[in-house]
Symmetry: D2
Subunit: 310 residues, 4 copies
Amino acid sequence: MRLSPDARGVYPIAPTPFLPDGRIDEASIDRITDFYGEIGATGLTVLGVMGEAPKLDGAESAAVASRFIRRTRLPVIVGVSAPGFAAMAGLAKTAMDAGAAGVMIAPPSSLRTDDQIVGYYAQAVEAIGRDVPFVIQDYPLSFTVVMTPGVIRRIVSDNPSCVMLKHEDWPGLEKISALRGFQRDGSMRPISILCGNGGLFLDFECERGADGAMTGYAFPEMLVDVVRLTAAAERGQAHDVFDAHLPLLRYEQQPGIGLAVRKYVLMRRGLIASDAQRRPAGGLSPAARAEVDFLLGRLARHDARAAVAA
Amino acid sequence: MRLSPDARGVYPIAPTPFLPDGRIDEASIDRITDFYGEIGATGLTVLGVMGEAPKLDGAESAAVASRFIRRTRLPVIVGVSAPGFAAMAGLAKTAMDAGAAGVMIAPPSSLRTDDQIVGYYAQAVEAIGRDVPFVIQDYPLSFTVVMTPGVIRRIVSDNPSCVMLKHEDWPGLEKISALRGFQRDGSMRPISILCGNGGLFLDFECERGADGAMTGYAFPEMLVDVVRLTAAAERGQAHDVFDAHLPLLRYEQQPGIGLAVRKYVLMRRGLIASDAQRRPAGGLSPAARAEVDFLLGRLARHDARAAVAA
Amino acid sequence: MRLSPDARGVYPIAPTPFLPDGRIDEASIDRITDFYGEIGATGLTVLGVMGEAPKLDGAESAAVASRFIRRTRLPVIVGVSAPGFAAMAGLAKTAMDAGAAGVMIAPPSSLRTDDQIVGYYAQAVEAIGRDVPFVIQDYPLSFTVVMTPGVIRRIVSDNPSCVMLKHEDWPGLEKISALRGFQRDGSMRPISILCGNGGLFLDFECERGADGAMTGYAFPEMLVDVVRLTAAAERGQAHDVFDAHLPLLRYEQQPGIGLAVRKYVLMRRGLIASDAQRRPAGGLSPAARAEVDFLLGRLARHDARAAVAA
Amino acid sequence: MRLSPDARGVYPIAPTPFLPDGRIDEASIDRITDFYGEIGATGLTVLGVMGEAPKLDGAESAAVASRFIRRTRLPVIVGVSAPGFAAMAGLAKTAMDAGAAGVMIAPPSSLRTDDQIVGYYAQAVEAIGRDVPFVIQDYPLSFTVVMTPGVIRRIVSDNPSCVMLKHEDWPGLEKISALRGFQRDGSMRPISILCGNGGLFLDFECERGADGAMTGYAFPEMLVDVVRLTAAAERGQAHDVFDAHLPLLRYEQQPGIGLAVRKYVLMRRGLIASDAQRRPAGGLSPAARAEVDFLLGRLARHDARAAVAA
């Protein structure tokens, strides 16, 4: 099952669960993978930034990716961003051999000009092989690399194996409209656009033409709901669901500590055994935990899935 | 009326209204100043980043600041950040002579180490005069300068004229708790903390010990409500009001186009005559305007103040 | 006398001389301006970064530029980079009214994409007027904005008033070759290229096709020599002169304290009365002063002009 | 043989030689290792930035480090900087097991505050083990992390296994003086300071108290000479040797293409078989190669070692 440009729906960014001692928690990998399947996710992305990918060594990365892949029948995208092409190519081969549907590549933060960005993806594709479907990760807030719609079009045009954009520019709604405009005017072939950035604009992103979400919000059911309701033209309901979650989603989207919030909620929901992160890690103070609990309580009035045991 | 460390409440960041041809719109300055007084703002901040301060020349900056100051009896803080101390000192003198309550100073983005930041504020204070009350603007997302709580304490300790922190770090809740902890343990004298960052965390910031808000959200009435309700220990109501506004507030908080959203809403509310910005400016597409209108409509179901005429 | 694309030779970046109390030293402006004329400079650039332009207020900038312009018959380029277009346009008008030959514009460090850079210059030209000759300052090390040769070509093509590139990319030799290649293949009209970056690569820059130098090295006579000797195809002599100065030139080119070195040498040469800078300023320790003196002594063995009185 | 704070002399930064097809060139590793021993190097550093470390995968890194270590009796420092601590700890263990003398750790570019930097080194030391001698790499131009002398002192004080500073701040002479001052006033225990930055200030760095050089200039014999002559108080001779090399050294120190220059010269000297780099790589145009050849010819007039066959 290869990733293709007509991918849609919700690809949760899976966390990498750790035990309190820092070892990888394989049982939690299985549990959360099953969960994603049950709630209607259409795929899965592992070893992203929020999957703490840089904190794994090479062997661990391969093991984690393989375990997710084996556990699910959903297509799995594996993040293979690396400081160099040798490591990137090695992980891409391992992942594809293990059954991944495709890989995701973020630009290194040293890139500045349009040509540098386009050139980087050309070299990356040569490194991983032209037959491996790949996703562009466009996340300027984190990587400081800014891709115009025109640059994305150049990458898509130059590389037939580019099938998807993980869109997390901020602001980003006009970028979606611009890319869909390129498709309409025939200047770019269709690609899948799944949106990240914690889901903070998913309500409008879907309306602008995105195919869905690829982010790790701790209630991916909401992402599934919003994508489904928008596709069904139930605009009001889509926003109602989204708005109910926005206070918590906003809290989870804080840089630096967002993953701590996410893992804490996933732990409270019983989906992973521990909220441990490998270092360096942002932690939650007791006050922050209490704030998350408070937000969960308020959310539960609108969405029963948030009614986790105290 | 000098700004003092016991300032509290809401100091809206006032926009600088322009006419469509780029000239300053003095009538709108008067109108929005009156509005801020009517809704219970306790002060006003002008010539901030969101006041398009860098787009004014020296004479215009002085004129705008003076007009706001003359129009209101509220204390007015004037942003005096500048590439050099000569311009900063000149504007600070002009502003204080015109009756400003204090000035606000942001760090230049070239600063990196703790000592560089502390040293910069020492030189700035020498430039503007030790008798001019000033506000530290702590906004890493925009300025790329990261101040630890310890650095803020050093600035406060070194400079008796430092009376307030405009807090807009992200994440920032723990920073508020740390600074209030410094006050409790006696290692830092009390200062006022007003929160910016579009208000995105005002609900919890007040609970953590902030004295209020200093930001430009287009419905500052909500900021006043949240500060008041939190002070009155009406936690649930505070969050209810906040949550109702969060979808729009989040939309307005987008970098680059946030000011366009804000001015558009203020114009729709009749508080400024035009949403024109001077260049460079992020504009709103018709799709974006429709999205804002949609959010206003949804908000109006909870808050009648959002029911603006179509 | 308007700046034109056939400008060549050496345009020293003039320092702004200050008295020890921080006031502008007009007598030193006159003295160093005369000096530049005597040594064969073909023009002059004032209010550059190394002219401490951001440390002057608007009135001072106008006064300094005017004084340089009145004192010399050489064409004078005035740096008008500013945080906003109102201030830029104001200074450009003042400078041109006072008799400047053209202005120089650096990109703000927030620019990232090719389109943003091209768009910025379009707006700047609209602000200062299409009849004002201007220089692109391309200095990525300082501004973090990277312009490809293609981007420079777009700016040149879009704006007939663009007549010169102040080239200080690093590395930059291939950029000169690429731009001259554009001229040869007819895809870009000719512009003047003068090189900055402290002169660190002037020897090869001239060989690659640069028209000369625009930098502030404290022995601009050497820059004049290298440009002249290269034009006369005296390659060995050009490098001999250059190499003799390289140890000092390299010392002066240190970021942060380079201007302190430069002003100290200019003071020791009697060209300005004081090496005072306005704050923030990098200063020289006694050890650093002794190192500069030592380098001057060594240089004097090769170049009598460096034999300054102890 | 463990690296200790009394290390001195020259530790060349070894390149990683590649064959034109991208495979590691083991014969060239042996040849250049022997060369370093013959010219009087006192140690060796491998897998630095200029050793193209990020372009190797984990297994290759281990193989390269081991081959260098086995070939020489000199102490070998292995760069172990990595995006995460798991990879860092893994490579450190492999290297030390293979006989490395110590490891070198650069800070990730995300660090900003003093406390973040100090905290990062604390976590890194915990990851690699408190018994592994390590070197701080202080290279702000490349990493954008600025360490004050006070921060370095904190790292040294907190971590007994910190034995050396690879100093490549720019400007950096005052930092050396400050650190040696800390030692004199008893506030910091002695550490070894070896200087990088291409050697551009080695002449004065040694005079300020540095213990030698750790950089990859293609004529490391010159570095050895300068360190030796300075130690012997032959100041004039030290500068004469340095100045003769400065034109080429300056050319090699260009960011982005510096390694291409270095490998080209090493190839021309017969020390490595090919100047191939793995991608991404800056290449040399024919014009650039001719410039390097020209500089070699000029250098050969002063230093016979530069007389390489055409």
